[in-house]
Symmetry: C2
Subunit: 323 residues, 2 copies
């Protein structure tokens, strides 16, 4: 696991438990599946979503076993979406390792992702979770799928615009962030207004997080990121920095490069320069600020406790992340 949670030993330790739950539940499925997915779990990434489940659970009656199990489900869902994303993008690297599809092939990646999705529902049906939350989980993944479908629909076209982008990222990213908060809170029997406020914290953190992620494609460092930069652009995904730049691109300089379906090295360089010239980076950073501000305002409304403090600090760290 990354060192992201090392300043919060209780959460760090619980996330290790979450990992063990994931590994244990995958073991015994199929040797081939097992060998391919366990390293991905080991590697772990930042484990933001399961941590958010734990943190929001602590606002209510905290039943550790139940909450850690649902945190494992959420991280597994995220893994499943990553495996399928990498098929579309033909990505070679994920979390500094070979992607499932680059190592085992597209066929394997399709079914490994499907397996994980169903495994999540299997886990949800085993423990004493509410049918309502099971429905919330399926709805969130449906939102992710629709977000991804829309994102792909607008590949390699300058017809993408601000509103479309916001709809896409609220589906593909913020939905699962928001769900993580709401699942933890509702399984810990928090009252509905509190569940909703935590859901809003998640939504706004998710939006800020995704815009930062999209910014990193233009400003990031490959070694720290553990994945290739300029990847989105090369794959024809035009994200916020480009969208803001297009708004100032009155002569259509940028649009004309973007509407071709592949780029030479010079094109990439030209796009980067135009994005900077038309303030795409600056404006995107300002939007991160806006979503972060909303998230902080939501956090302020939460009852005082350690989780509240941690959420506030974590949000600070995320806003300033370089990887």
């Amino acid at each position: 696991m990354s060192e992201f949670w090392k300043n919060y030993p209780e959460i760090f330790e619980e996330l290790n438990d979450v990992k063990n739950i994931m590994k244990k539940s995958i073991k015994g499925s199929d040797a081939y599946l097992n060998n391919s997915i366990i390293p991905l779990v080991e590697q772990g990434g930042k484990m933001l979503r399961p941590a958010f489940v734990l943190l929001s659970g602590k606002f209510g009656e905290y039943n550790g076993e139940k909450i850690r199990n649902i945190a494992a489900v959420v991280e597994m869902l995220h893994l499943a979406t990553l495996i399928h994303d990498d098929i579309i993008d033909n990505s070679k690297l994920r979390r500094g390792c070979d992607t499932i599809q680059s190592k085992y092939g597209k066929d394997f990646a399709v079914y490994a992702g499907d397996y994980l999705f169903c495994h999540c529902f299997d886990m949800l049906s085993k423990h004493d979770y509410s049918m309502e939350n099971l429905r919330n989980v399926s709805k969130a993944i449906k939102k992710i799928c629709i977000g991804e479908i829309r994102q792909n629909y607008f590949r390699y076209t300058s017809k993408i615009n601000f509103n479309k982008y916001i709809r896409i990222i609220s589906g593909k990213t913020a939905a699962l962030f928001s769900l993580s908060f709401m699942l933890g809170a509702s399984e810990a029997k928090c009252d509905l207004p509190l569940v909703r406020t935590l859901g809003k914290v998640g939504y706004n953190i998710g939006m800020a997080f995704q815009i930062i992620d999209d910014l990193l494609d233009y400003t990031g460092d490959i070694e720290k990121l553990g994945k290739a930069t300029q990847n989105d652009l090369k794959q024809g995904y035009y994200t916020l920095p480009i969208i803001f730049a297009l708004e100032e691109d009155k002569k259509g300089e940028l649009a004309s490069i973007l509407d071709s379906s592949s780029f030479e090295k010079d094109d990439i360089k030209a796009i980067f320069e135009l994005v900077k010239k038309f303030n795409g980076i600056e404006k995107s950073k300002a939007l991160v600020e806006r979503y972060s501000k909303k998230a902080f305002e939501n956090i302020k409304k939460l009852p005082d406790c350690e989780s509240k403090m941690i959420l506030s600090e974590v949000l600070q760290t995320l806003i300033h992340r370089k990887y």
Copy 2:
């Protein structure tokens, strides 16, 4: 819908309802998703699995709405697996229409399949179904995924053998057939021995059905099938006719052609001749007989009613199908 059920007007009409439930539940999701999936539902195929849900439900307390809903879920799961299968196989045709991936691209097909999987769990969580059946559904899809993974693992290699093949098809096909029978029966509150006997009927029909399907790759008619013949072979899936032939291929004639990873037209012709020479077709047909016999024996044990009679007739029809 195909004319497969036209001799059973009650089932035919109920299957139309099932289709309408599917269409209604998909509508309102996303226009793009909607437009691509509805034609697939319209086209319908034989709708064996939902029909089996209905028929087995009639052995107990038949709550039409509840049973038709779960029949819709089962058919939707099947659709989701077909969409993902077609990605792997690069298939152009399915049910006589363009496949989702050939029409809308691989990226869309991945998320459309994911969407449908989650949509099924969404539907299951909405109606008053048992958590146990929800678990059974997720387990069955996990079996399908593992079956598919194993099948792909043994592509283009003569190392595939009889036992491996049986494990593969019991996962990828018989599991969902068996589930269809068990879901209908258990949601209609049949007692456990009856649920299990119906599950066995489904398993054995599923095994016979898949072997027939694999035989049709060698003996079928492209226009009647609505999909290309020799497709499995060209994709490197070595099914039962080849596996039986390999057992008699003492000199390794057949194996040497099979272990290359692509075929010329002459190779295909040679494989067909060797499969015939080494009795691959005949022996596969004999195994179909064995599974059918088992299914008939299971059907005999069922309490007398119209569904029992229909199941018996349908099994007869399936064994002799040419498409």
